[in-house]
């Protein structure tokens, strides 16, 4: 555990008009760890993600990443710093092929998206193809994203985020709508990549087996506030969490 957290959120608040979606949230994520953020629907998880990635500007509080202040930075700047997200609802490039989609992410990372000269293939095909191999989508390289199965599209969703070589990956319900087999494949993929690339992962998930199975830290949100955080075992045993979330109000 290095001295300083990779992602350090202090007193983060976001209000839409009168309604406060996220209030005074503190969150620390260490490199190479998987940190789960759980809570019932409407607890403010998606809003928290949107503020971190810069889609929404925070009302109060700070977001520091890798030692630099990212509060209020636009999404493309946040992504370039190495903090990337994959979306709850599949959000890919329908008419681009799988290979082209990954190449877009690789180009953005190399800041080559302004390049007019070289054919896009030369620079990035190799790296993109290797990544497709790693995630097992190589066979579908030439197919348009919209023609893929739901499971493959979810995998492509995560692959796009990985292609930008992030230091921290925000996964918003990566296994949503997946069969048990596909869920197993996704979980294995996330844990392997976290270890292989010293990647920090912030996971927002409803499936408690996954949450308590693979995460090093868990934070529980309820009505926009942090009601508990710590290692999975401690959180599972915490009576407040049990009352509010697991057994209580559903």
């Amino acid at each position: 555990m290095s001295a300083e957290p990779l992602l350090d959120i202090r007193g983060l608040t976001k209000a839409f008009g009168g309604f406060t979606a996220v209030a005074e949230v503190d969150l620390a994520v260490w490199p190479g760890t998987i940190h789960a953020v759980i809570g019932p629907n409407g607890a403010g998880k998606t809003t928290l993600f949107r503020v971190i990635t810069g889609t929404h500007r925070p009302t109060r509080g700070t977001v520091r990443f890798d030692g630099r202040d990212l509060t209020g930075a636009p999404p493309h700047v946040v992504s370039r710093r190495g903090l990337t997200q994959s979306f709850q609802i599949t959000n890919v490039f329908p008419r681009l092929t799988v290979l082209e989609s990954v190449q877009v992410a690789v180009l953005a990372r190399h800041r080559r998206s302004w390049d007019f000269t070289s054919a896009r293939g030369r620079r990035t095909a190799g790296e993109a193809a290797e990544l497709l191999d790693e995630v097992g989508l190589a066979a579908a390289a030439g197919a348009q994203a919209q023609t893929l199965s739901h499971g493959d599209q979810r995998i492509l969703e995560v692959t796009l985020a990985l292609a930008t070589r992030p230091r921290l990956l925000l996964l918003d319900e990566p296994t949503a709508g997946m069969s048990p087999a596909e869920t197993g494949r996704m979980v294995a993929l996330v844990t392997a990549l976290a270890a292989a690339r010293d990647l920090a992962v912030v996971l927002c998930e409803h499936d408690m087996d996954i949450v308590f199975g693979i995460s090093h830290e868990v934070t529980v949100l309820h009505r926009g506030r942090v009601i508990a955080h710590g290692p999975p075992a401690a959180v599972q045993a915490d009576p407040v969490v049990a009352d509010v979330y697991l057994g209580g109000e559903q």
């Binding site: 493309h76 990337t84 193809a129």
Partner: protein, 322 residues
Amino acid sequence: MTPVTAKGRPVVRALAGHALIATALIVAVLAVAPAVLSVTALLNVQSAIGLALFACATNLLIGYGGLVSFGQGAFYGIGAYVVALAWLHLHASFWISFACAPVVGAAAALAAGLLALRTRRLYFALLTVAVSQLLYVVVQQLQFAGGANGVFGAMLPGFLTSSDNAYWFTLAVTVVGLLALWQVTRSPFGLTLRAIRENRERAEALGVNVFRHQLLAFVISGAFCALAGALFVVYDQSANPDLLNWTESGYPIFMAVIGGQFTFLGPALGALVYEQARDVLLVNFTDSQLVFGGVLLVIMLAAPDGLVGLLGRGGRELVARR
């Protein structure tokens, strides 16, 4: 194991090879035209070639960038006026003013883009109409720009007064222009632009500065539209306010839609077909607009992806709709 060689080199060379053969085929046929065609037909093809450049430049925004601009006529008109006014007032050499046209077009596109790209989809389309209509009204007030009748006169250099030379020149400039545009579409910038068209939010989340890419695409398209406008002067030896009218901006859009907006050469094919169809309609039908409207409706409903969609064997798969 890995489906591609380390640096993907053979793939790229093969891609380039086929494209060159196809382009060479087109240029060869067009190059033969002066010897074969009568004066009218040659002028028709010359006008269609100029419009093909205008349509492909506009399609950089519509087909590749997903930006429906109804105001490209403004830059087309600017290109024509730069050449005409340089001749009228500065007595500048045609070649210099012809080269300046795209530069002025790009500058105008930068200004218009900074304003228009803050809006999305239909608001963007209607704002570009407002900008070009504003220019259309203003230019008619400017006496030094020839007011409502525009600028007429012998503004072409000796070399271009012969119809064959004018045709060669138009063909040459268009081929060079289309190759440059084609390189833009197949470059990393082109792919990023298409990604933005497909899913703006996702592209932004991957680190793409969407506004800047769209602005650059708008400037490039403006420059090439102005170049096409300068070619109009070669064809018509005049620059009149109607070039800036929104109805003029509608032509490249119909050409792109008829030809097939998701392929590079689709709009060029659309330009050729549109130009001939309109002439045939105008001459043979008293209700030409009724027939043209009917034909346009049938094409839109029957061939959603344009003629190329129909012609291309696998066209259906390549441009399958969302």
